[in-house]
Amino acid sequence: MTTPTISERAGPGLSGRLPMSNATTAFIAAGALAIGLYFLLPPDGQSVFYVVIGASSVAAIFVGSARNLPRAERLPWQLFGLGLAGQVAGDAIFAVYEVSLDREPPSPSVADVFYLAGYPLLAIGVLLILRRLGGQTSRTAILDTAIIFSGVALVQWVFFIDPYNHIRFGTEGARLVAMGYPAMDVLLLVALAQLLVGPGGRAVAYRLLLASVALWVVADEIYGLNFDSYQGGDWIDALWLGSYVVWAAAALEPSMAHIAEADRRRLPRLTTARLTLLAAASFTAPLTLLIERAAHHRAHAFVIALGGAALAALVLLRLAGLVHAVERAGLAERVARREAEQAQQLLAYQNQQLLEIDRQKDEFVSSISHELRTPLTSIAGYVELLLEEEQDTGKRGHLAIVERNADRLLALVSDLLFAARLQYGRLELERSPVDLQTLVRQAMDSARPRAQAASVVLGVETVDVPKIQGEPAKLAQLLDNLISNAIKFTPRDGRVDVRLAARDTMIRIEVSDTGIGIPDEERERLFERFFRAQAALERQIQGTGLGLYISKAIVEAHGGRIGVDGAPGEGTTFVVELPVA
């Protein structure tokens, strides 16, 4: 017993790959055996056994629908059950006559009422399943059904119904009843055609249902062509019995629960199969005429003309529907295209706006830079002048303070503008060959006064390293940032060491201090814009929170990376790696 997985159950497209369940296979095998056995029985036994097979199948249909379907979805299968029950009832009446009276029932008889009443139930059951499958608007579904109906009815009338008008019957009632069967077969043929081109079709149960309807219709049509020679126990019985068995197997097959789920791939289209079927239906009128001519029959001119006209009208209506659908699709496409064009224009406009805003921001940064630096130029310039002229040591000290603060303000302005421009993602380097050893020594020299003021020992360890392609001013700024930071965060009598080394294609710069260290939770955020360490805030160490952000940007613009090592309380080491190439 296979256990279908959830995905296999998800749709008929997949469930169609399911093998027939073992139970269904066993049922069909048992049915085939029973049908074989039927042909070995004496006539009376055959009549009874025929009823037994039919009744078992009807029971199986009710059991299967109750087992496989929720109550609300059982109606089509209950109609199948009832329709076939009508057939079995007719068979039973025949059996009673043959076994107890040893003759066939009169024609027409009550049996015919049961037989004929069963057909519409079967056809309605199929149409209900097809309707649940959907896939077409009701208008086209009705038109397609009407076209198929017209074609089938025409053929059925000309070849299967009308011939009874030319045969002698005991009574007119008998003739009418005889004509009733091929008439009812029209319903089943329409149902069969719809099943063939329906949007479902892959579930095993669907195929079984199709096969059972086909067996029944074929048996009826063969009977219709040979009804003179038919006798109970004829091979045609195998078809009817087979239909009973397969119909019941369809109901027992678990996949019948998904029979009304459409195969999405086949859903909305006018499929080739459907088109072929509609074309075949449309050509029935001329074909019928040709066949009648070839067989030298008297042509059914009136019926063929009527059928042809009806088909032509229906096909025209169907075409009109298609044309409308195409027009609607065209209109929808034009609307969609116009909307897409408008969206594109809007996007282009917004893009332009953004570029303009970007340009304005750039201009703004440039202007602010100018406005802040201009007064600083006067302050710094005149203080420089005064410092050169002033002899008084006290006043010189005061002027030095002004100068230092002007320098700090300038550095702050530069950092802020640098960061603002980084926000727009434009750090462009003016590269030239840079000797990092020289840059490191220069940075150490300019940091020395600050280190002395803070009583911090500066150590440096450099080796000859290959030159790199970079912007000297930016790299000097990077070194200055890292060394200044290290000095700021190192208590008195601590050390700051700078090491320069080459490793493969990378040059490694380490700046380590014996300072307070960086807690783990701050390490992640260290290089964020405006981030300030808790220790810096607590000890009122000056800074903007931009130095490391800018440093990282400079390192990355040079294709390198920057990181931090060390545990809290054990000092900190910033490591920069820059590629040589």
Partner: protein, 134 residues
């Protein structure tokens, strides 16, 4: 090369800075002519033919760039050395100045020593027939 007798034109709309630059250059031994806007700077350049001009970029009436273009476009003024001295320090500003033919671009705030050294360097090389701009 002595700075004696060499005329330097200083143009800046900020009078404080203009005084500062003039004072520094006079102390370094240059003759100094001053202008407070770009138009005036061009007039003085025509009338007094300075050896070098220190131009602010953001000036009314004509910007430093425009004055520079005027000088470079005039056969008789083409040899005047030009230093742009600006608080606009973005790479694009510097590049624009140098592209327009400035001999140097110095950022404000500037160190006096740096400015004087640059002027002396430019005028020193200008006295010999070496090509301008090194």
């Amino acid at each position: 090369m002595s700075a004696e007798g060499r005329l330097v034109l200083c143009a800046d709309d900020d009078e404080d800075i203009l005084s500062l630059v003039s004072l520094r250059l006079r102390r370094a031994g240059f003759d100094v002519a001053t202008a407070t806007d770009g138009e005036e700077a061009v007039q003085i350049a025509r009338s007094r033919r300075p050896a070098l001009a220190v131009l602010d970029v953001m000036m009314p009436r004509r910007t430093g760039y425009q004055v520079l273009e005027e000088l470079r476009g005039d056969e008789s003024l083409r040899d005047i050395k030009v230093i742009l001295l600006s608080a606009r320090v973005q790479e694009s500003d510097v590049a624009r100045g140098l592209d327009a033919g400035a001999d140097a671009y110095l950022a404000k705030p500037f160190k006096a020593q740096e400015l004087v050294a640059k002027i002396e360097e430019l005028l020193g090389s200008g006295a010999s027939p070496e090509p301008a701009g090194n």
